[in-house]
């Protein structure tokens, strides 16, 4: 049953992705990418990653879609017809895909509890979380306690990106008086 649910969601994801490749109207692309994020969030929750699923629904389907729509508002909503042949990109993608599929041959099958990844470090965190931090949600305890520096680094990345966005758009507001502007956060 778990396999089947997964399979259906994965096929939906692939279908939406094919839609994103084919559609030329950028509004449709943004809406499809929102649908893609929600499907991904559902799939992550089906794979027991509830925290990741909720973050993906809020950030991927919510914030990203808002950012993309505001960018569309300030630019153009139609994609120009392709001028180059798509043979070379397609060949590159297929080559990469073939190499990756070859790589998956050695990977453990989905849902296997006895893989090295699931046997040592994951179990360790599950056993230690309650005695050492008293937090029942292990994802929270690893994120905030054991790997707190990762989260600090993540905050630094967001801070840098925020400064970058502000600097890029601040100059814009002073130079261009032709449109309203300033509806980006």
């Amino acid at each position: 049953m778990e396999f089947l649910f997964n399979l259906i969601l994965l096929l939906f994801l692939a279908a939406v992705t094919i839609g994103i490749i084919g559609v030329r109207n950028l509004f449709a692309v943004v809406v499809l990418s929102g649908a893609y994020s929600f499907l991904m969030a559902t799939l992550l929750i089906a794979m027991d990653a509830v925290d990741v699923g909720m973050t993906e629904a809020a950030v991927g389907a919510g914030v990203s879609t808002v950012l993309l729509l505001s960018a569309l508002h300030l630019t153009n909503t139609e994609e120009a017809p392709a001028k180059h042949s798509n043979v070379l990109p397609m060949a590159l993608a297929l080559l990469t895909g073939a190499a990756l599929v070859y790589g998956t041959w050695d990977l453990p099958r989905y849902g296997d509890p006895d893989t090295p990844m699931n046997s040592y470090v994951g179990d360790e965190y599950l056993e230690r979380s309650i005695p050492e931090t008293t937090i029942p949600n292990v994802v929270t305890s690893v994120l905030a306690s054991y790997r707190g520096y990762d989260t600090l680094g993540e905050t630094a990345v967001i801070f840098t990106a925020g400064i970058g966005v502000l600097m890029l758009l601040y100059g814009r507001r002073r130079k261009g008086d032709d449109d309203e502007g300033g509806d980006r956060s």
Partner: protein, 124 residues
Amino acid sequence: MEGLNELAFVLGGVNHWITVFLIMAGLYIIVSRSNMIKKLVGLSIFQTSVYLLYVSPGKIIGGTAPIISDDFTVYSNPLPHVLILTAIVVGVATLALGLALVIRINEAYGSIEEDDVYSGEDWN
């Protein structure tokens, strides 16, 4: 029983293969499309496929979400979830910065098509 095992084997592989398909699709959009917003959507697909690549090996069939409770004994691996939480937030930061650049490029060149930007002679 033999047939059921075969089926589980094939379905277990499907997870990896669709992940690979999403990586391919993202790469294809980034390389082949000239429109920069579409490129950024392709980049998002590329990033999102990596979430799948990380989280799906941590899933244990019959397990539950890694929140400790007396009612359950089998939990999925929490470590990939933590790594991907970080990746999601960094992904949206990348997207925001990329979109800000696209807006500035649109202002300077009047186009968000890479071909138009490269063919424009007035580099100022």
